[in-house]
């Protein structure tokens, strides 16, 4: 996660060289240092106390991942989680000192992490943990009052665009009951022995202070994708019916409105030209 826009005004002096070598010694395997850094830094890194820095940096990164991915950690256990996290840390060190945001690439890492191959639901669970964090730290915004939508004239409704709340996140998982696995672990609850292995989707948002979530089907996810793309309710309805021909649009909308999924709405200025 090296920042591409890093400062270009680095002085070529001794301090910069010290920091290059020190940073390398912090993360390189201890046995390799004698051959990869100058002797003075290798000697510094050989002092027993150097381990305090190595341990603090690694622990800080792993602690952050464990805090940001609690459902994943609960599923695999602390020991497995921290071992996997240590590997990820070496691949993708934090670029942002706000460690709440650290680990954006962790789900992708788990998806290609060999020892996790027998846990194919793990990346999906990680994505929902990430959505929780994003919803938690998203900008504050008012929630669209369902009564305001109910008050829209019927002829204006097809040309209306609903704006997803800045905290709203949703995803459809076609291969596994990710919502059930994630939400049970997030709530520290046990999974049923006979878990129904079916596709599931999830919606997370933060209508007030706290992140809340509901299960969402493929039609609901398609609806929100359309809304997020700035499309009208008429177009969003088409998208829903494409996914699920018998979808109950009225029920879907009232469920989403009740969950505080939207922050506002407008009437699409070109609607009449698109749908004369």
């Amino acid at each position: 996660m090296i920042n591409a826009s890093m400062p270009t005004n680095l002085a070529p002096g001794a301090l910069a060289r010290f920091q290059d070598d020190f940073a390398h010694a912090l993360l390189a395997p201890a046995g390799s240092l004698a051959t990869t850094i100058p002797p003075t830094m290798a000697a510094l890194a050989a002092q027993p106390a150097f381990a305090v820095y190595r341990n603090t940096v690694m622990k800080g990164c792993i602690d952050a991942l464990q805090a940001n991915y609690p459902a994943v950690a609960r599923l695999v256990g602390e020991e497995w989680f921290r071992a996997a996290a240590a590997i990820h840390v070496r691949e993708a060190l934090p670029a942002d000192p706000t460690l709440l945001r650290y680990g954006a690439a962790f789900a992708d890492f788990l998806a290609r992490f060999e020892p996790a191959a027998e846990l194919p639901y793990l990346p999906g669970v990680a994505r929902l943990d990430r959505y929780w964090t994003e919803a938690h730290a998203a900008p504050d915004a008012d929630v669209l009052d369902p009564a305001a939508v109910a008050g829209v004239a019927p002829e204006a409704l097809p040309g209306t665009v609903l704006h997803p709340h800045p905290a709203a996140r949703w995803m459809w998982f076609p291969d596994a009951p990710i919502y059930t696995i994630w939400s049970r672990n997030r709530n520290d609850e046990a999974l049923d022995d006979n878990l129904d292995w079916r596709p599931e989707g999830a919606l997370l948002t933060r209508p007030r202070d706290t992140v809340e979530w509901i299960a969402l089907d493929a039609a609901g996810c398609a609806f929100l994708d359309a809304c997020a793309a700035g499309r009208t309710l008429a177009a969003a309805a088409d998208a829903v019916l494409e996914v699920q021909g018998n979808a109950d649009l009225t029920r879907l909308m009232s469920r989403l409105l009740a969950a505080g999924t939207f922050s506002g709405m407008n009437f699409h200025p070109q609607f009449k030209e698109v749908h004369p």
Binding site: M1, I2, N3, A4, S5, M6, P7, N9, L10, A11, G13, A14, L15, A16, F18, Q19, D20, F22, A23, L26, T40, L44, Q47, P48, A49, F50, A51, V52, Y53, T56, V57, G60, C61, A64, L93, P94, A95, D96, P97, T98, L99, L100, H136, A137, A138, P139, D140, A141, P166, A167, R206, D209, T210
Partner: protein, 279 residues
């Protein structure tokens, strides 16, 4: 504004309710601004609620002032934005580096205190003070390594930094104790030589022996009560330089609010009657 501050506490999410309700006069709370650099949500809402009742200090860990590079402008901008929003009583950072070539290392890393480093740190402190439009305090970190190539001792370096930039200093008494033990010098001697005038804030915290090396290496772990030796050093310091806003830092192995508040009361007692406490 700072004259009203007595002893304060690090603010932890587990203690938000108790912190908000605590009526003690002069009580203030310190946070790492990095934990509140979010667009919105409950973290900021809590900080603002507590700010409405108590003074806040922003104690940064990521400006990386001792890196041989300017502070990340985006990070500095976020810090300035948070400072505008919270209007903190104090803003502080460390004589250390953490971010380097776009990577954030979550620690306070050491460097050889050369003239080159002094020029760079002074420039970085000045840039920060310009961006924030105020004076900040720079903290002495804990030391573990014997580093070759120091041209100045730490007090000389910090004094010259304060002279060049007008910055204040944050004197962490536990860090002095830990560093003196680890590197083999006198903590009393260090504290007696530390310039009192620029000290804007004092930190007190707990430390622990290294799990592998034992008492030969003390780690500034912030996971234990302030040690008796550190209390004694603190009382001696206050008797010499007078009262300064003093923070009890605790980040791990967190006790309940009342236990931390009792430590805060002890620091407050030293600030009220330093000579009796230093006896």
């Amino acid at each position: 504004m700072t004259t009203a501050l007595t002893a304060g506490l690090g603010l932890k999410p587990q203690h938000y309710d108790a912190a908000l309700a605590c009526p003690a006069a002069g009580l203030w709370f310190e946070v790492h601004p990095e934990n509140y650099m979010v667009a919105g949500g409950p973290r900021l809402a809590w900080l603002e609620a507590i700010r409405a009742r108590h003074a806040i200090s922003l104690h940064g860990v990521a400006l990386s002032l001792a890196a041989d590079a300017e502070p990340d402008p985006a990070h500095l901008k976020r810090l300035a934005g948070l400072a505008r929003r919270i209007e903190p009583a104090l803003i502080s950072e460390h004589l250390a580096w953490s971010t380097w070539r776009g990577v954030y290392h979550p620690d306070l890393l050491p460097f050889p205190r050369t003239d080159e480093a002094l020029a760079r740190v002074a420039d970085n402190v000045s840039r920060t003070q310009d961006a924030l439009q105020r004076r900040i305090a720079i903290e002495n970190p804990s030391h573990y390594l014997h580093i070759e190539g120091h041209a100045r001792d730490e007090i000389d370096f910090l004094s010259e930094l304060a002279r060049r930039t007008g910055c204040g200093l944050l004197l962490d008494v536990n860090n002095v104790y830990v560093s003196a033990r680890n590197l083999g010098y006198s903590a009393e001697g260090y504290l007696d030589a530390f310039p009192g005038e620029p000290v804007m804030e004092i930190h007190l915290a707990g430390h622990t022996p290294d799990p592998n090396l034992g008492a030969a290496l003390l780690v500034d772990s912030h996971d234990a009560p302030v040690a008796p030796e550190v209390w004694a050093l603190y009382a001696r310091l206050i008797a010499r330089i007078g009262a300064r806003p003093t923070l009890i830092e605790r980040d791990d192995n967190l006790p309940d609010f009342a236990t931390l508040f009792a430590e805060r009361e002890r620091a407050e007692a030293v600030l009220r009657t330093p000579l009796a406490c230093a006896a």
